[in-house]
Amino acid sequence: MTSPDLLLKAYCTMLLARRLEEKITAIYRAGGIAGGVYVGRGQEALSAALGHSLRRGVDIFAPLIRDQAGRLAFGEDPAEGPRTYLGRATGPMRGRDGNVHRGRPSEGMPAMISHLGTMTSVVCGMLLARRMQGRETGVGATSLGDGATSTGAFHEGLNLAAVEKLPLVMVVANNQYAYSTPTSRQFVCADLVDKAVGYGIQGHTCPGNDLSECLNTIGKAVADARGGGGPQLIVAPFLRLSGHGEHDDAFYVDPALREGPLGRDCVDIAREQVLASGAADEETLATMAGEIADIVATATATAQKDPLPDPYAETWQALKTSCPA
């Protein structure tokens, strides 16, 4: 059973992620962000549970597109998101890359590229390196969507993790759609977790919008990986509660899904669970919501005041090595 304290902590992270992304969306709608905005609405429970199951400084977390909550749980500064979306020189990507492609690889958080599935093998490499160096490897966690399971990169990476028996924790956020594509056009297995046996690894499932279940299941999977149980595949179904990006009104989402159990908002479920656990009462949560609003306001204000990169000062060096011409 999940401890009430952990539930509260994770709920708090979820709410911070939700509010932060709402603010980023507002800036986007006001024309302040170029490109797109991609939010984790609906995925906060799963993502926060993953982030809180990891130990910063020991473990690796390779977040994907909808992992704002997991990032915060893993210790990302709330200003990193706004800084990156706003292309600030102070953000981890210094304006060179944007939105969800941020990371601090030397702090255990690699920076994803867009090509789906590709971060799987990168995490494998990090884990393998640590093992070769005789260091404590920690576990290496990453997530991807139902759609990304169709990529060769997912397959090759997961299989390689199994062959090398690496402590990889792979979370599949099955949010029923890949952009507009329903899962029926993505795979036909009864449950994505059925893939685990074909890789010879352990599989787990949990409802992706149920914080308590996510914490339990992921906590166990992480412990198994840490204990030498090899790669762990966690499949968590729920519904994406946003468009693919904030430009997308998601007209294609089946209303039955919205109204069914997968469509329940994880934030609402988590709130009920927190209250039921006794970790906090309505009043405490109200105070907390106020504090979160402050954090969001400060993070975005900070980012907005931060300097932009200076194209005239840019040296355009793709290499660390300097080569005389």
Partner: protein, 322 residues
């Protein structure tokens, strides 16, 4: 009369090709009821039931599937959601599709639509111009239309061609570029177009850079310089005749492209000029490409990374001053 933009022209070309030839079908991510990430296929799913298929996120398999379907007499048109993701299908494209006719004698009429090029905020993985990779490999034809009319006619031609065609459509032009009609000048696909006639220097370029070049030429015309702009249209094979013809008139060449600087189309254009048009040149040919780094996300950086009317103008002034 209503205006038609570049993406409308693409949609219309797909529509008309499907209406004319039952062998044409579309395969790609989110191209069905959703109409595609850029709405290039909007409405086609309804108009042509069973011929517009949403596919899994599997660029390798999509590209292999295209070859198989072509072997059986179909004319698949594959939409890559962004050109950048075609790297995942590149092996099937360059090694399977592109070699098929040479190896077996059976042609592979497949079209890969690659939404290409940079837009503000699209960053390193949603901005690439991949002509250099595909043009390098034997067995592929590479189109890079720069006008609404070409978007239409060249896509029709691409689908009609019996070989694999890489169709690089520029995302920046999708909605920005509007014309009164899709009627073009009937130039065959393998001919470059003199998009602007001049006499002091030639800019040879393609895709979105045609418009930057035209802007630069406009600006320079205020100082009396007459810049000729050649729109390559087809990046492979290159139309040597038109390139050399223009050089014969102007004697000065700027090869301009949005892709990365090493190799690629601009190097090939300069090479053609130097090896086959040496005596036509009154000054060293020049090149202008993007910077040799990944394509930055932040809009100011992005604008400094790619050639613009301003940097083209500067390059032309240097060329003219020689």
């Amino acid at each position: 009369m209503s205006e038609i933009n570049y993406i409308d022209a693409i949609r219309k070309a797909l529509h008309d090709a499907m209406a004319d030839d039952p062998g044409v079908f579309l395969y790609g991510q989110d191209i069905g009821a959703f109409g595609g990430a850029f709405k290039a296929t909007k409405g086609l799913y309804e108009t042509f039931p069973g011929r517009v298929l949403d596919c899994p996120i599997s660029e390798d398999a999509m590209s292999g599937l295209a070859l198989g379907a072509a072997i059986e007499g179909m004319r698949p048109v594959i939409e890559m959601q962004f050109a950048d993701f075609s790297t995942v299908g590149l092996n099937q494209i360059i090694n399977n599709c592109a070699t098929h006719f040479y190896r077996t004698g059976i042609p592979a009429p497949v079209v890969f639509r690659l939404p290409s090029g940079g837009t503000p905020g699209s960053g390193p993985f949603h901005s690439q111009s991949m002509e250099a990779l595909y043009a390098h490999y034997p067995g592929l034809i590479v189109f890079t239309p720069a006008t609404v009319a070409d978007a239409y006619s060249m896509l029709r031609e691409a689908i009609a061609i019996d070989d694999p065609v890489i169709f690089c459509e520029h995302k920046l032009l999708y909605r920005w570029l509007k014309e009164d009609s899709i009627r073009g000048d009937g130039l065959p696909w393998h001919r470059a177009r003199v998009a602007r006639v001049g006499k002091h220097a030639t800019v040879v370029t393609h895709a979105a850079m045609v418009h930057e070049a035209l802007r630069a030429a406009d600006q320079l015309s205020e100082d009396g310089w007459e810049i000729e702009v050649v729109d390559l249209r087809c990046a492979k094979p290159l139309d040597r005749t038109t390139i050399l013809g223009s050089l014969a008139r102007t004697g000065r060449l700027l090869a301009l492209g949005e892709a990365f600087p090493f190799g690629g189309v601009t190097a090939e254009v300069v090479s053609i000029a130097a090896t086959e048009g040496f005596e036509l040149l009154d000054a060293p040919p020049q090149r202008l490409n993007s910077r040799d780094t990944p394509i930055p996300y932040q809009p100011d950086l992005w604008r400094a990374h790619r050639p613009t009317a301003e940097s083209i103008q500067a390059a032309l002034r240097r060329l003219l001053a020689f």
